[in-house]
Amino acid sequence: MIEVDHLTKQFGGRTAVRDVSFRVNKGEILGFLGPNGAGKTTTMRILTCYMPATSGTARVAGYDVFDDSMEVRRRIGYLPENPPLYDEMTVRSYLDFAARLRGVPGRKVRERIDAVAGRCGLEETLPRIIGHLSRGYRQRVGLAQALIHDPAVLILDEPTVGLDPAQIVEIRKLIVDLGAEHTIIFSTHILPEVAATCTSVVIINEGEASVAGPLHAIAAGKGMSHKVHLRVARDGQAIARELSALPGVGAVRNDHTVSGGYWLDAEPSDALREGVARFVVEKGWGLLEMSSVAPSLEEIYLSATVRALPQERESVA
């Protein structure tokens, strides 16, 4: 549905986006992750035809954002970081304007307004003036505006920023619901948000997309191994060394948050964990806890965005 190839955008001498490529399939929810100023908004603005790229191509539903700009615009709903709301208008008149601007036929406008108002929880708010609304409601009006022409693709720039926790949960749920009918790209720098809502992720840092793909594939491909967490009753000096000598176990380091805790780099195999458990019991260290831990998005994110991961985190304690 969305194909981005070697996209580069320069502002004067500064490169905001450098050679970014990714794909989003129909019905996917793509999380666009990255620290502030990484180039998320710029990429989205190129996709929405707000600004052209310096080089590279982007296609939405098969249409090039530069050559077939109007076709792309018809198919995209866009919620910028600051919802583009006219404060002096009422919610209804604003949505009416947005609908007509987006080419919704006159006789369908009312129906669409009611539909998106229902979707975004704005039924009671329609007659109110936008300038008087709270941050959460403004965000909803912005989202309603993006949905008004029932676009195939939704592009949401930090849709949960500045909302309270309850509202964040609501918006996330709404995004997941919308994912059933729309292809969605949304940007954020909040990691749990991506884990909770997305099917795939692009991590962008300093203008470069370092990681792109489905969540689980990224975890495997990035060399972020699974871990086994272990806790023993009787801690000792030699434990880490002896554990790391076991076949299939990589680096072992102390988990300083609990006494007798260890992190083992290990494949997620049952046989291996059984072996580790037997070994610990035979040694008489007193096995208290053991669990298998998949690499968290946070680790993937940090390894992608922080240039050099502190070495001591990986080394044997």
Binding site: F11, G12, T48, C49, Y50, M51, P52, M70, R73, R74, I76, Y78, P80, N82, P84, L85, Y86, D87, E88, M89, S93, F97, A98, R100, L101, R102, G103, Q145
Partner: protein, 256 residues
């Protein structure tokens, strides 16, 4: 065309929800009303003088009242048009609402035309308000000739349209409304006074060139009751050029 109308309608309604439009309407109608009273007084005095004169000259209500009245209206618009048009693009840029229209399936020129048309409707509304004055004259048994009145109104509308084109252009240059208004005002004033500069002889060798840019010289034809094709072409191309450049500025701002 439909899209232009949609944008124009929103533009006009947003003008009318701000107190600015009402302040300006009150200001303009007050000044014009006051000036009208003065003109009627002058007319009465003149007609008295003519009645007692041994060699009475022919004079008409159009020459004394209508012409001066609508010339004044145009002068007021030199000040008012920049204020009305300063918001168009500057505010959209500052409040980042531009992202809505710039990512909608709408061409840049359609956006410019829409915003411009909204302003022009405001100008037309102001002009319609001023028709009470000629109407009052008609009720006082001194009806102005319809021909010159129409010419004067058309001239004022075109001049106002030219000022709005300058204003919309200035507004597209900046995100600061005050800067937009000041730039527009300076430009409008320039196009208004170059004609006088040319006539006074200070233009030197450039006088013909300066005069060719003058809004006030062109407007004079209309005030005399003459609708000259050349003047029509002047105003329409002036407005067209202004809007074209506005579109270029908007397009180029996308690249940066």
């Amino acid at each position: 065309m439909k899209t232009i109308w949609i944008i124009a309608r929103r533009e006009l309604s947003s003008l009318f929800v701000s107190p600015m439009a009402y302040v300006i309407l009150i200001f303009v109608t007050f000044i014009l009303g006051w000036f009208f009273v003065y003109l009627v007084g002058a007319y009465a005095e003149y007609s008295m003088r003519m009645a007692m004169s041994p060699t009475p000259q022919d004079f008409r209500v159009d020459d004394i009242i209508i012409r001066n009245f609508y010339s004044t209206f145009a002068v007021i618009m030199v000040f008012v048009a920049p204020v009305l048009s300063m918001r168009t693009f500057a505010e959209e840029r500052r409040l980042r609402t531009a992202e809505l229209i710039l990512t909608a399936p709408v061409g840049t020129m359609q956006i410019v035309m829409g915003k411009y048309l909204g302003l022009l409707m405001m100008g037309l509304f102001m002009l319609v308000l001023t028709l009470v004055f000629p109407l009052w004259l008609a009720l006082q048994d001194a009806p102005p000739e319809p021909g010159p009145l129409v010419a004067a109104c058309l001239g004022v509308l075109l001049a106002t349209g030219a000022f709005f084109a300058v204003g919309v252009f200035s507004s597209s240059l900046t995100s600061n409304q005050v800067v937009a208004a000041v730039v527009a005002f300076v430009l409008c004033l320039f196009f208004w006074i170059v004609g006088a500069a040319a006539e006074s002889g200070t233009g030197g060798a450039f006088a013909p060139l300066l005069e060719s840019f003058s809004i006030s010289s062109r407007l004079d034809d209309f005030m005399k009751g003459v609708i000259d094709t050349r003047s029509l072409v002047f105003f329409l191309s002036f407005i067209g050029t202004g809007l074209f450049f506005t579109g270029r500025v908007l397009d180029s701002s996308r690249w940066r």
